[in-house]
Amino acid sequence: MIAPIFLLEAVVNGVLLGGVLALLALGLNLIFGVIDIVWVAYVDLVALCMYAVYFLVTLYHWPVWLAGLGAVGVGVVLGLLVHLLIISPILTSPPINQFLATGGLLFFIQSFATLLWSTDHRSVRVTLPTLEVAGIFISFARLIAFVLSILAMIALYLFLTRTYTGTAIRAVSQDREAIALMGARPRRLYLVTSAVGGAMAGIAGALFSIQYAVHPYFGNAFGPLTFMICVLGGLGNMVGAFFAAFIIAQVISVGGVLVSTEMGYVIAFVIFIVLMFVRPGGIFARRA
């Protein structure tokens, strides 16, 4: 029998994990919701941003927080490049081609990273303390990652709801022709969306790099999880993805403590498969 205190610790850790997963899912969902294309290699872009943090810290001796900001810049540039070089030329192709192209990018990034940087696990080795609150141990790195993820998501929310550009980004996904009649350039809105999606990948990369070591196949650890969350929340549904991230993180974390870490993931994917049969539009889909 598991002591209640460990269960509580698992719940807290689940909440903290949920914050970063939600950030990842929101970035991917933003791109899908607006441009209608799934960036299969999204978490591999995150891994590249983690490499950016690693090299800025180890080679150029930047402080970690500054390297994190640098990673956000790298994310923006990567987002713009992915859109201009890969998405833009195939914007009107059948979805399967777009899927294959961004899927191809995944293998390209992973192989390229292996070639350049080998399969070594690289970590910036920040030693952050562990907090003890009422008998529960909380990693300070996880807490920072959670708080900054939430702040980044609030910033994204304010951008999408309060600014002209953000509102137009939501509008272009609903009617591309009508937004052009309002005076906005759809292609420019797509570029801004890709840059924002890239920035979210950069933030996630910076926050991951204080918790995990990066390696060329890092994307495989969180990529499928991110897709699962997006689909569970309903593809393109930002609020749905936010809550789905916390549900999945809870299943992984609590399942991990109750059974084993691997089983936590197995349970999460089994729940996902079952829910896809029961509610194929996502758990938050409105009934037509």
Binding site: R170, E177, A180, G183
Partner: protein, 234 residues
């Protein structure tokens, strides 16, 4: 103000407009009427840049606009209320109006424009936070017109404003458009509801199978067999 000369336009291999020439003077209200499939919607789409004319010229206040993209043409002062309204259904009433004021010049006067639109359409002022997709047909049409006004246009293109509305609502809508007119906007409307639209405008053109067949003052046309021709096409 607006002059089309020998405009030919269509989609792919299909030509919907042949050699169309028409003029709209500042302060005027002009209608283009004609049966279904005459090319009325194509005409407005060619003016607002949603399709590029294959030949001919579209001159607005001295500037040649044929072939320009829509976001450029709206910046010249032409607002298009498209067929089927084309609101952003998931955005609220207020957000739709905000998108209407997307142009930098319109943003600067957002509050003032908003007050004017709310004064014209009090029904919109009552529900700024409601999603556009959940409005009634009449309210949606008001929002579409209000959204166009938010860009501070000089010329408004109206595509079938009465389409899909209940007869009572059609009458109310034409009253509202009359009020928009009285505010000094220049209007070019295409309509199938010939009888109603002729009461609203100064002049009208009859469009048939992509060509202008008749033109004249609205009062004169109402006397002739124009209405029958415009409605049924012969």
């Amino acid at each position: 103000m607006l002059a089309l000369a020998a405009v030919t336009a269509g989609y792919g291999a299909f030509t919907a407009l042949w050699d169309v020439s028409l003029r709209v003077e500042a302060g005027e209200a002009v209608a283009v009427v004609g049966p279904n499939g005459a090319g009325k919607t194509t005409l407005l789409r060619a003016i607002s840049g949603l399709i590029a004319p294959r030949a001919g010229s579209v001159v607005f206040e001295g500037a040649e606009l044929a072939g320009h993209p829509p976001y450029d043409i709206v910046a010249h002062g032409i607002a298009h209320v498209p067929e089927g309204r084309r609101l952003f259904p998931q955005l609220t009433v207020a957000e739709n109006l905000k998108m209407g004021a997307y142009l930098p010049s319109a943003r600067a006067r957002f509050r003032e424009s908003l007050e004017r639109v709310y004064a014209l359409f009090p029904a919109l002022a009552e529900r700024p936070r409601q999603r556009a997709g959940s409005l009634s047909g009449g309210e949606q049409q008001m929002l579409a017109v209000g959204r166009a006004l938010m860009s501070r246009p000089k010329l408004i293109l109206l595509d079938e404003p009465s389409m899909g509305l209940a007869p009572v609502m059609v009458l109310r809508l034409f009253d509202l458009i009359r009020r928009v007119r009285e505010e000094g906007y220049t209007i070019l409307a295409v309509e199938q509801n010939v009888r109603q639209v002729l009461k609203l405008v100064d002049r009208a053109y009859l469009l048939e199978v992509g060509r202008i067949k008749m033109e004249g003052r609205a009062a004169d046309l109402a006397e002739q067999d124009f209405i029958r021709k415009a409605s049924v096409g012969f």
